[in-house]
Symmetry: C2
Subunit: 393 residues, 2 copies
């Protein structure tokens, strides 16, 4: 029986993963090694019991006792804290879902690769902040990474049986987010509640705002560059409000292979869970006549400076992705707290990356996770400074 | 150097094939064994000279002399007549384009398969009239068939690296043809010139009218059933006026893989020519923002009785495809001659298939090409009778 672990089990991707695991037979089909979560220990405990996990870990030391209580008598081991999460990533397993949100997701994924496990990668930050390190680690240990973003899963699927050298372009689709149809001159006054009204995907608050600012797409562009090792010039973004085409690969013979599906994260999660087999999934079938139309718009880089910043990061590589990601997190915090405006987020990131480019050798690749952590730390300091300056203006 | 032959070189698909062969280096890249054509002997001779073919054959005995004159002194062998075409199909070669239009295209294709050549199949009638015979011949001789319709090439490409048993549905796109937006109650009075005004594809007159009546799509549905060996219930048709999505394959995990491209026959021809490699092709790149939208409509089977007839043929199999195809050809002749109306075509085909179903064992598969010829012949007689009855009403 295949051994699996899920990191970030109680988040949005983790819940969908749990749903698919239970749909596919739960403990009768999978040997669940470890489940990890955050503060929602009741849900983590429920999942651990349902999947008959060997180990349940909460990231927070102060959540240990509630988790222990919730699982007492079940025989499921309980642990808490960052190092316990990393220990869980060392526990032998075959398949790991990396669905922890943020920079904390990087190290468990690296450890899973180091033990040669297949890594289903939903943690966006891993490839953005440490793409070269992650890919090199996978190669060194003969481990495989399967993308779990809908866009990258679509690209991966459009490459099945094909030769990457025949690829002409990769076209990432973007919904355009909640503010897509706002006049450009009103974006500056967009509030958090405005940016949260995403038309298609039901996701966490942070990623929904990143979708409105296109920082989410900027991260995905960088991920695409790192994961598929294509030239940055080969990566395009097109706004596709219906989110039915999840992304496309264009080949040098003019053919474009596209992956279409309902906007449901169980598509890419299920693909990564069952790969290389396509197993039946509990997702909606598309009715094209009912759908009626699929539309496309060119993304205006003046409206979405995040896309321009992604191109700068792809040109620099090295630790610039770590800088962009950290600065974006800080800018997002400040926007969500109402301290800076919607357009200030890109300005803060831009100023941070520019400053770090002058201050550090931003284009030098990380050789170890400590390099990524150091750049993440410095970028957060610089971004905070820039955000405060914007706030005080 | 790969040996190639092109049957039906001077037609629309033949011209595009010639264009791609010359684009890929012409006689420097291919060893051209045979080119065949019809009455356009000057063009056939030009092509034979350009490709340094060993043999040029016209289907018409009375065209022998003009072809011989046009090629005198070139060292290119010249022949004429049906049996010369079949002899050309026996000449050892590696890759054969079967682009002869109509029932005459079946036997050269079968002979190419019998010698183990790869058959690029543009002749629609082959799979419709003798699908089981054709596939069995390919299997018996270890020969491969590559589809050259844009729809079947799209399906073939969407199946690359995938397991056919994971297919849930195949969705053929249809432009809807020239009369797509006509009110249903005016279709009866549609003239040949009306049906010839195809919005996207530049094709021969007969196939353009077949597109307006959806008989072209009906043939393609039957071809899909025979070539990919899927259940008829798995085959869907959706009207997609822009002809950008060339067809789609839906898998049981909900994923739909689609092939998109400009409406240009050099897509499927080039794919079949270069398979399994994707070589650069001189086709237009798609600009999705300029395109703006892709639309879909449900095909109304009351408006397009050809689709219902295709389902009847798929249920019957055997020689019913040969009957439908022959009856359609006769009905089309009568419509193009102004003797019956647009809607009478489907009525003639329906009456012919029904009558032959009562008169013969229509569901029995052909074991030899003679069976197909006999059914073709009888169906033409019956269809002519029904067409005349309609004309005299």
């Amino acid at each position: 029986m295949r051994r699996i672990s899920v990191f970030g089990a109680t988040g949005s991707v983790g819940e969908s993963t749990f749903d698919l695991l239970m749909h596919a037979g739960g403990p009768a089909s999978f040997d669940t090694v470890a489940l990890t979560g955050g503060r929602n220990v009741q849900r983590l405990a429920q999942m651990a019991v349902a999947l008959k996990a060997k180990l349940a870990v909460t990231a927070h030391d102060d959540c240990y006792e509630p988790l222990r209580l919730a699982l007492s008598g079940t025989g499921i081991h309980v642990a808490a804290g960052t190092s316990a999460i990393l220990d869980a990533a060392d526990a032998p397993t075959d398949w790991v879902m990396s669905a922890i949100v943020g920079a904390a997701g990087l190290e468990p994924g690296l450890r899973a690769l180091q033990q040669g496990a297949t890594l289903a990668l939903a943690n966006k930050e891993s490839l953005v902040t440490a793409g070269q390190l992650l890919m090199a680690t996978a190669a060194a240990h003969g481990a495989r990474i399967l993308p779990v973003d809908s866009e990258h899963s679509a690209i991966f699927q459009a490459l099945v049986g094909e030769d990457i050298s025949a690829v002409d372009r990769i076209i990432l689709t973007a919904s355009g987010g909640a503010l897509r149809d706002w006049p450009a001159d009103r974006l500056a006054i967009a509030k958090v509640t405005d940016a949260l009204a995403h038309p298609n995907w039901s996701m966490g608050a942070r990623i929904t705002i990143d979708s409105a600012s296109m920082f989410n797409k900027a991260l995905e562009v960088i991920e695409t560059r790192e994961f598929f090792d294509v030239d940055p010039d080969q990566i395009e973004v097109i706004i596709h409000p219906e989110s039915i085409i999840h992304s496309m690969v264009g080949y040098r013979d003019g053919a474009i292979m596209a992956h279409l599906g309902s906007p449901d994260m169980r598509h890419p999660i299920g693909y990564a869970l069952n790969w290389p087999v396509r197993a039946p999934l509990p997702v909606a079938r598309i009715d094209f006549a009912a759908l009626g139309r699929l539309t496309f718009q060119s993304p205006d880089e003046s409206r979405y400076p995040a896309l321009r910043l992604a191109r700068e990061v792809m040109a620099l590589r090295g630790l610039s992705g770590a800088a962009l990601n950290a600065a974006k997190e800080i800018a997002l915090d400040h926007f969500m707290d109402g301290r800076i405006g919607f357009l200030d987020m890109a300005a803060v990131v831009d100023a941070t990356v520019s400053q770090l480019s002058a201050e550090t050798r931003l284009g030098t690749a990380a050789t170890a996770i400590e390099d990524v952590r150091a750049m993440d730390h410095l970028a957060r300091i610089r971004a905070t400074e820039h955000a405060i300056k914007r706030q005080l203006r």
